[in-house]
Symmetry: C2
Subunit: 142 residues, 2 copies
DNA sequence: TCAATAGTTTAGAATTATTATAATGTAGAT
DNA sequence: ATCTACATTATAATAATTCTAAACTATTGA
């Protein structure tokens, strides 16, 4: 979702009603300089802090999934225990810091274009994602 | 874990006691021609079918994680809802069929070596994994 | 060979993440 | 202003995984 703050319009454009909760969530997610990564839990905390009213956990789930479906968010799979979401919806790859559990975006120059030679009959490629797991140089990792 | 069936020895080598359950699990996982992918649920079913005795779900979890830690299994992250494991522990990439939820191994010739240009200070690269999501050519995908 | 002990298995409870439910509330159209 | 369809909410339900504590078993070494 673009920087420009007319979230009401943006929501309407994709057929989502601009409710108070959705607008608030847009502000939390998109009123910032850089894109970022979060879990549902992170987001609930951020919203609680920014808002004086409560927001239901179910609403956060619903809204995150609605935004994902509309292309405003992208889910990133790191491990089975946590869903990370990314406000950067362009095709890009990630580093995952196994010490801090931090996700870091790669930009185009970090990783050469991936060339897929295999072809699966009747199937088209939806996405190609690279995950680079990193960890502290001086410790054993799982 | 190599094809060779002396699982008792193999388990001992890495400091896992060769219990009845672990040996049975080795047989189910490694007494086969090809490596394969499974979820914990799949595995419980497979073991139940092969064994006449019951095995506790907790044991399956424990054992899978013990095997993973010892390098006999690798976890593959596809989405947040399911943990897939792979008996092929060598470095390789995957296709994921979003229609059938099937994981398919890539071999070396399918994807060129990934060249990582970015360097994160004080961190070393533990792994580089590519996931190629594919789906039927004639249907919209999320 | 036979305890001692340290690691393992087990059923079931607990926890965590997520989704479903059904009642209430609200945005947008008339 | 009213109606209707969609949203939100608290709570319950579900699902995946981990924890617990008691019973069991492989190994050690007397």
């Amino acid at each position: 979702m673009p920087k420009n703050c007319n979230f009401i319009e943006k929501l309407r454009e994709v057929g989502l009603r601009p409710t108070k909760q959705r607008i608030k969530m847009c502000e939390v997610l998109y009123n910032r300089e850089k894109t970022f990564h979060f879990t549902i839990n992170d987001l609930v905390k951020m919203i609680s802090e920014k808002m004086n009213e409560k927001i239901s956990l179910a609403t956060v789930y619903n809204t995150v999934h609605a935004f994902e479906k509309k292309g405003y968010l992208k889910e990133i799979s790191i491990d089975s225990h946590k869903s990370y979401f990314d406000t950067n919806t362009s095709a890009h790859h990630h580093f995952f810091d196994e010490d801090t559990h931090e996700l870091i975006d790669c930009d185009e120059s970090d990783i050469d274009k991936i060339n897929i030679r295999k072809n699966i009959t009747g199937k088209k490629i939806n996405s190609v994602e690279v995950l680079v797991r990193v960890a502290s140089d001086n410790q054993t990792q799982k």
